[in-house]
Structure formats: structure tokens, C-alpha cells
Subunit: 311 residues, 2 copies
């Protein structure tokens, strides 16, 4: 059996079963954006995210500073979505011997920008040789309360932290490899290369019953919340804002903006649930049941999970 | 400038300078087997180590369980050499799509064996697709005292935890690719594939002024202690024990056992310094000065660092 036949989540499920967790200090293991452990009176969060050449980025197309920024952001976003502040990171490098020093220096300068913006420090790491360039970052966060995926409740509202869909549009523009780009296109590309984890929303996260960061796509990520919380999530189509640059993009290239809003990954925005009034974009509500649905006037349509998968 | 021209340690030095650490909770960053941070009244240790196909192992030659064991051991060894107990690990997988599930399952079974032996739990991870197979593990340890490389003192003795040189002999035997192996050869190969981190010696580590695990080779690793502690380390050749299987190997293949004892990496044994009498193998002493020396009767010879480097 090849792993591609198991699918990414099938593989993860099977592997995690080989390593059951039996430790009273582990509050959350696997199954969420971060693992969470108790150390004295503190809760620590752990996550890890990798950037692989060819899978996550094309070396000739990416500015190495953007790569360092994005790697940091993807980790910080996991920490923030669980309610924590990023504290410390380890960087594990697998590098081809003939790599230009300037490239990896640029990656580190991007990490430095991210450290200064998010407030964490890289404190260790490892270097190894490889044929394929990979940069793996593990991160430790600290919090006083863990916000996970499993406590969305019937009666909660569903919120998002910003307009969605921009990262996918930005990636498509990059892949068009045009000689020049219009201003609105540059802004979409910028959103793909320089996403910002929503560390500014930590207080909102802590007031939420559940939170997840949008890395695979809104429907896919809300699907995780639905499954783990055992609830039905209804998105009201008319409440989904369409970003102005995305609107121009969809008009120019004859695309449906909702395909971007619902399925764009690597947004690093947050989807939150709460029965409180949060100063965020309210896009739906939680009911009894299961699955993620889109409500259009009086039609209710179950949405397929078309999120990004490695296998 | 290609990174291979900088050398592994040159590269690491330059990169770490881009990310200075300014955090009062960080007790030790970079520069040791583990980073160490203070969380409440606890000291936590962080390390990361990777296994890259082609650089660290040959997929067709290694039993995947041994790979999982070795990856775990290399991390545990870093934690133990700083005086800590391993607690939690994250596993980051970069896998080719056509990889057989049985292979990665075997790796996880090897990690499970290591978890049961060393007493830690894997609590999270990540999966990504790649062309080259890589398994990266980051580990968290816990301790009440940090034992580093920088506190070896003049007047201390130098100890090792066991006979050395076996892993290098084992690797050379594996690479001979023989149809059959003699019993002593099988034992050397076993030591290469199934090294044991010396978690049984934690009490000795805590009584030591410095400790390092032998992953690059005795001379190379004592070189780190010498440099960081600003002392001269003298190894007395006559006190270096020659393992019986290594002796037979060297006779059969006409090799000098001291080239193995002094330079074999991936031993995961410990080199410790202390002014106390430890129940370990005493091989030398610390003097004022710098560098690592081999003392033969009355001749004192400075040893070159010929440890393994990725670049």
C-alpha cells in the first residue's frame, strides 16, 4: 500500500494510533492546531510546520525573506489559534551543499522580521545536508487557557477574522508568471507571500468556544471543527464579504469569488465560534447535526471538503 | 558563496548571528546539545535532530524500526547529556507519495520501542510531501539542573560512559555489503543500528561539571567542551579501553583501533568531566590551555578534529 492511497489524514490517523499518549501532563495531543502540555502552572503549546522546495515553494520564484516570514507565520498562526503567544522556535535545515549562502541568509532575515513582529526567539536548531531544500520549524507557545476545535456549541455564531480568498488568487497570479502585474494583482500576491498571523486577535480567541486557523481552506478547516465538536456549521453566503481586489480579479479572469473565499488555503486568518458578540465578521451559526453547509436564501447545500492535501 | 565553502559550523555561526536571543527566560540558546528555558520553576530542554535519506541512512539497507529507534535515540541523547529526562516529541515527516506505508509504519514502531524504553511521548507532528524522505524529530526534556559544555574546570578528570569506536566499525561493515557476517561483526552492526542513549547515567551527568554526547566523535565533541570551557583536555591513550569486538575487527581488517575510538560518531555515549570519582571510565584530565591532546607515555600530541560534517 502506497501512502498516497491512504490520503494525508488517513495516514496521520494510522500513524498516531501506533503512538498512543498516556501522560497526565498532556492536555491535548495530535488532533488540534497545537499539542498542549501542563508544566507547573503554565500551559505550553507545541507545533511544527515545514516548507519543502517543490511542494510549498519554488526556489526561483520566492524571495527567501518571504519564505522565512511565511514559515514563521504558519507556526505562529497555530499557536495563536489555540490562544497562545509564540515564545521559542527551533529551526531544522536540510540543505543542498551547493546552495548559495545568500538564499538561506535571506530566509533567516525573514525569520528575524517575523520574530520582531510576533515576539518570539529562535533558540536552537540543526543543519543537515540533503538534495531537496527543506526548512522545518517547531515552535513553543505559552498560554493560560487552551482554545481548541472541540468546543463549538449549538447556538454559537461563526466568525472570521478578515476577508478570505486572497492567498489562492495571489498564488494563481504568481503561477501565471506574467511580465507585469496590475496594482490589485500585486496586493493579492503580497497576501500570498506575506500573510500575517492574527496575534492582534488573541483576546477574541480567548473569548471563543473554538478557534482554528485557515490554512487548508475555510470549508476544510470548519470541517475539522464540525467533526471534533460534533455540530453542524451553517455559513450564510450573503454574509461572506468579497474583498474588493478579489472581486476585480474574478471579473478580469472570469472566476467565482466564492470558490476562493470557501477554499483558499494559507490564509492564516482565523475562524472562531462564540455565543458572544465579537467585533469580527459574523458569517454563520452552529446547529445540531454534522457537516459544513452553505445557506443561500432558503437553500441549504452541504459543502464538500476540497482542502489542500499532500497525498 | 556556496554553503559548502562555509563549512557546517561556519554556516551555523553566521546564521545564529542573524537571530540574536534577548529573552530572560532563555538560560541557554544554540551552542549546546540542547537549548534551555525557564518556565515557572521548571527548566525545559529543547533539541531537534533529523534523518535524511541518502545523508543519514540508505532506505534499502536500513530496517525502518532501527531508523525510528535511532532518530529517537539521537534526540534523547542530547536531552540526557544536558541532565534532563525526555518528555515529549513532535515528528515532522516529508515523504514521497509512492512510499510504502509499511516503511513509515516500521519507523513509527521503532519510535514506539524508543518511547517505551526512554519514557517519552510523541504528542504532535506534521506531514508533507517531498521527493526525498526525511524525518525530523524535535524533543522537549525536563530537568532541575542544566549541565552544559562550558563548565569543565582545570583539575577535573575526563570520563567516558563505555567503550567507543563500535558505531564506525559497524557502519563500515554495513557498507561492505557482505553476504554473511561473523558474530562479532553482527554485534558491531547492532551497535550502529541500535545505539542506546545513556539515560541510565543521569545521576552521573548531574554530578558532572560538563557533559556532551558523542555524536560527531570523541575528539570533535571534546573539542566543543575545550573551546566553550576554555581549557585543555588531555586524553591518556593507555587508559582508552579497546572493545573486544573492535579489537577482532581491527585485526581482521588491518585497522588502527584508536582511529575508531577517537573519531567514531553516532556513538551516543557520553563524555563527562568532574573532579569527583565517578564509576565510569576515566580517560584523562583537564589542564589550563586549549585544544584536545593525546598523551602517550611522555609524548603529548595535539589531535585534529576530524569529526563528521555535513558541509
Amino acid at each position: 500500500m502506497k501512502i498516497e492511497n491512504l490520503g494525508e489524514f488517513g495516514l496521520i490517523d494510522k500513524l498516531n494510533q501506533i503512538l498512543p499518549i498516556d501522560d497526565k501532563d498532556v492536555i491535548v495531543g495530535y488532533s488540534d492546531d497545537c499539542a498542549c502540555v501542563k508544566v507547573g502552572n503554565d500551559l505550553l503549546l507545541f507545533t511544527v510546520d515545514i516548507q519543502v522546495e517543490g511542494s510549498h515553494f519554488i526556489k526561483e520564484k520566492i524571495n527567501p525573506k518571504d519564505l522565512g516570514w511565511k514559515l514563521s507565520t504558519s507556526n505562529v498562526s497555530d499557536i495563536v489559534s489555540c490562544g497562545g503567544k509564540p515564545r521559542w522556535a527551533l529551526v531544522s535545515l536540510a540543505l543542498p551543499k551547493d546552495l548559495d549562502y545568500e538564499f538561506i541568509k535571506g530566509v533567516y532575515e525573514g525569520i528575524k522580521e517575523a520574530q520582531d513582529y510576533y515576539g518570539f526567539f529562535t533558540i536552537g536548531g540543526n543543519v543537515s545536508s540533503s538534495k531537496q531544500l527543506m526548512i522545518d520549524m517547531s515552535m513553543v507557545g505559552q498560554t493560560d487557557i487552551f482554545v481548541g476545535r472541540d468546543k463549538a456549541r449549538v447556538g454559537d455564531f461563526v466568525y472570521i477574522s478578515s476577508n478570505l480568498g486572497l492567498s489562492k488568487a495571489g498564488l494563481e497570479l504568481i503561477l501565471m508568471d506574467k511580465d507585469s502585474y496590475e496594482d490589485f494583482e500585486k496586493k493579492l500576491i503580497e497576501k500570498h507571500y506575506r500573510p500575517k498571523a492574527r496575534i492582534d486577535l488573541l483576546e477574541n480567541v480567548k473569548k471563543s468556544s473554538s478557534c482554528i486557523d485557515i490554512s487548508d481552506g475555510l470549508v476544510s478547516d470548519l470541517g475539522h471543527v464540525s467533526k471534533r465538536s460534533k455540530v453542524k456549521i451553517v455559513i450564510e453566503k450573503e454574509k461572506l464579504p468579497i474583498d474588493n481586489n478579489l472581486k476585480i480579479f474574478c471579473q478580469k479572469y472570469n472566476k467565482d469569488p466564492y470558490q476562493y473565499i470557501l477554499y483558499s488555503g494559507e490564509e492564516y486568518e482565523l475562524a472562531l465560534t462564540s455565543d458572544k458578540d465579537l467585533d469580527l465578521i459574523k458569517i454563520g451559526y452552529i446547529e445540531e447535526g454534522e457537516g459544513v453547509y452553505l445557506k443561500t436564501q432558503e437553500k441549504l447545500e452541504k459543502l464538500d471538503d476540497k482542502g489542500f492535501r499532500h497525498f
